[in-house]
């Protein structure tokens, strides 16, 4: 199951989607928002997604774990929009008959999401913001500049 939403991610409900009587293990991963990046205090974060392509790429990744481990019971949920510090941005839940493949597939999914899924994270500081991974090293876009309010 794939979910991209502005709403709060409910771990219990999402995990329930992966559970089943044939599975003896459920491995979950939560990505949570940090309050600091390189010593700077983060006020809040914003996530942006290329919706239809995110769906395609996540379906591909779920297809890959089906092929490699025979796992069909997996949930990927990503929150977008504004998130406060300490909130959950990503939930991955993988259920399998035994724990080994559940752990392996969960790690695999998270790694692949970071490589191929078009979702971007903006960290907002007191004096500007950074699109993580995108900016030229060390450059911060000033919120008081000409771009302010364009988003």
């Amino acid at each position: 199951m794939i979910l991209i939403t502005h709403e709060r991610l409910e771990l219990e409900a999402l995990t329930a989607q992966a559970r089943g009587p044939s599975n003896g293990a459920v491995v979950t991963f939560l990505g949570t928002t940090r309050d600091r990046t390189e010593g700077r205090r983060v006020l809040y974060l914003e996530y942006e997604a290329y919706g239809p392509m995110v769906d395609n790429k996540l379906q591909e990744i779920l297809g890959e774990i089906r092929e490699r481990w025979g796992i069909t019971d997996a949930v990927v949920a990503h929150r977008i929009g504004r998130l406060e510090v300490g909130e959950v941005s990503l939930v991955v839940a993988v259920a399998a008959p035994h724990r080994k493949e559940a752990f392996a597939a969960c790690t695999y999914i998270v790694d692949r999401i970071k490589e191929t899924v078009p979702i971007w994270k903006k960290e907002v500081f007191e004096d500007g913001h950074v699109w993580v991974g995108s900016e030229e090293a060390g450059v911060t876009t000033s919120d008081s500049g000409p771009d302010a309010g364009s988003g």
Partner: protein
């Protein structure tokens, strides 16, 4: 031909809009599109080398051909292994 280019994150902010339409010769590659964009929006010049391009929601190579009506997206580096 015309192609619609979707912009996200940093690119959306730099250009101040979520998509632009680009007029290209009838035969044109992804690379030609990027060159055309940089000419129109010089602030993209430093970003383009690290940009992936998606055509109809699949990652495309720089030499891939574009076709009238293609949905193109500039994909800046994703959040990247800092979870």
């Amino acid at each position: 031909m015309k192609v619609r280019v979707h912009l996200f994150a940093l690119y959306r902010e730099r250009l101040g809009c979520g998509q632009v339409e680009v007029e290209l010769p009838a035969v044109a590659s992804v690379e030609a599109l990027l060159q055309s964009l940089v000419e129109t929006y010089p602030s993209l010049a430093r970003l383009v080398p690290n940009t992936m391009v998606a055509v109809n929601q699949e990652y495309a190579g720089r030499s891939d051909a574009l076709h009238e009506g293609d949905e193109v997206a500039l994909i800046p580096p994703v959040s990247g292994g800092r979870l």
